[in-house]
Symmetry: C2
Subunit: 140 residues, 2 copies
Amino acid sequence: MSPDLITRLKEAGIQPSAQRLAVAGYVLQTDAHPSADEVMSEVQANFPMLSRATVYNTLNLFVEKGLLRQLVLAEGKTVFDPCLEPHHHFIDEESGRIEDVPWDAVKVGDVKGLKGYEVHEYMVVMRGRKLGGSRMSKKR
Amino acid sequence: MSPDLITRLKEAGIQPSAQRLAVAGYVLQTDAHPSADEVMSEVQANFPMLSRATVYNTLNLFVEKGLLRQLVLAEGKTVFDPCLEPHHHFIDEESGRIEDVPWDAVKVGDVKGLKGYEVHEYMVVMRGRKLGGSRMSKKR
DNA sequence: GTCAAACTTTGGATTATGTCTAAATCCGAA
DNA sequence: TTCGGATTTAGACATAATCCAAAGTTTGAC
Ligand SMILES: [Mn+2]
Ligand SMILES: [Mn+2]
Ligand SMILES: [Zn+2]
Ligand SMILES: [Zn+2]
């Protein structure tokens, strides 16, 4: 489909196979933080020729090549985040849904100057309740 | 052993059985962040009559009763933290070891005032390299 | 003190996430 | 067209964690 995606994969040094494009079409463009299982379900809906092994292979490849970040924030499953810029995360305690919080929305002090540590990256992880539950935001 | 521990369990509404005291003796007093497996190994060294199921039962009970916090910060295993006060966490990228960072060591802005969210708790999660690797700190 | 009910522990089965392997398939270049 | 490396795949494997039902232990009413 999108020639943009083909270009992005190639630029990352990844052969754009049909399966990889199908996975990329979902996981590189979602604003959710899907688990491997969710990626497989979503992609298989439109592209059934996709095995579980390939989903894992592809997600791990994307992480390795820097197209995705892998996050472990909650019990039982690691999730994938296509947003590469630094940002924080809010976890809704009811639904488990993970939302991005812009970097500038939370001011964090002199982390990099912490004595005794060489901090390579950091984020604020928040848990609580999402307000304004009126507009139901379905997936995608 | 320690009557303090018996008291703590009772105050939390937990019957202080032998197994629970053995687990508590380690996990409520460590300054590490052990996984369930590590708890089992450590405790079984002095108290062999302890099954895997009981370790999980006990840790989950302690979490439920508020004696422990359960953290999921890295791939593959959840860990338990006896420090109940708010604090931040630093994860050494080489060893995977998790260290506590005092609440006041990092200034975080107006998280609780974040528009659209009701934040119940938050922490800064840092990843990087621990400096001053001279004094080897073994476990315990 | 007895004894039944409730609580606790336990081994083994079960589920779930993720990796590995080796064979089949695909695909681009010669 | 053909070859060889890359990709995909089913299923085996590994591991963390839960579930279950039986066995053991504690407790309290009597
Ligand atoms: Mn994102
Ligand atoms: Mn601690
Ligand atoms: Zn994110
Ligand atoms: Zn801690």
